[in-house]
């Protein structure tokens, strides 16, 4: 398991290639990447705050739960914090498994839990000012399917 919380950008291609290269006997690698969308009019930055200490524990706990539920080779989670520009990558997860179904499901599970159970908060900064992004009911509801 590789959990990283960082302000620096990451190289998606290098991370996925490196992750795949470290696997043995895994027929499937799935990755997901979250990107800052330029949706708010004049979005200048997405500021991401987190709870150092708890963040790493929460992410590790979610990854351990995924490993309990599915047959996985390994899990990689990278989540950034700080001020991000539109089109920058916020985070990624990668999973490996002997077969694709487990790798896909585990990646979706990681994303659903990471959205509402890992202590990150997003703030949209526009020309007009800055607003905290509200949690969505559907993100909380998404946990119900697991």
């Amino acid at each position: 398991m590789d959990i990283r919380v960082q302000d620096a950008a990451f190289d998606l291609g290098a991370e996925v290639n490196g992750f795949a290269a470290r696997q043995t006997g895994m027929g499937a690698v799935v990755s997901f990447t979250g990107i800052v969308r330029d949706i708010a009019p004049g979005l200048e930055a997405m500021q991401i705050e987190h709870y150092p200490g708890m963040t790493e524990k929460a992410l590790a706990g979610i990854a351990e739960e995924a490993q309990r539920r599915w047959s996985l080779g390994d899990v990689l989670v990278i989540h950034r914090f700080g001020a991000l520009q539109p089109d920058e990558m916020i985070m990624m997860v990668a999973t490996s498994s002997p077969h694709r179904a487990d790798a896909f499901q585990a990646a979706e599970f990681l994303m659903d839990y990471l959205k509402s159970r890992a202590p990150f908060w997003k703030k949209e900064v526009t020309r007009e000012g800055a607003d905290w992004v509200d949690a969505k009911d559907e993100d909380e509801d998404a946990l119900g399917r697991w």
Binding site: G34, E49, Y51, G53, M54, K57, A58, H79, I90, M91, M111, L114, K115, S116, R117, A118, P119, F120, W121, K122, K123, W132, V133, D134, A135, E140
Partner: protein
């Protein structure tokens, strides 16, 4: 005990952390003590349904006991990913 605030809770209270001496038995009791401090605390804790709490860095509820606890954090629902 360290009491931490994140996101708009931190902004409303105007600081990221307080260190408190408290005999509060539960998180809810601690919230009542904090509310009594100043208007900005009262404002931050006006609607507990809008808040989440972590006790020693684990998500908890407002009835969680505080005996032996070193760190409590208050924040809005999380928006990761």
């Amino acid at each position: 005990m360290d009491v931490l605030y994140f996101a708009w809770v931190r902004e409303r209270i105007g600081r990221p952390k307080d260190t408190v001496e408290t005999g509060a038995a539960t998180v809810r009791d601690l919230v009542e003590e904090l509310r009594a401090r100043e208007a900005r605390y009262e404002m931050a804790f006006a609607d507990l349904d809008a808040l989440r709490v972590a006790v020693d860095q684990e998500l908890a509820d407002f009835d969680a006991p505080l005996a032996g606890v070193r760190e409590v954090a208050f924040f809005p629902p999380m928006t990761g990913g």
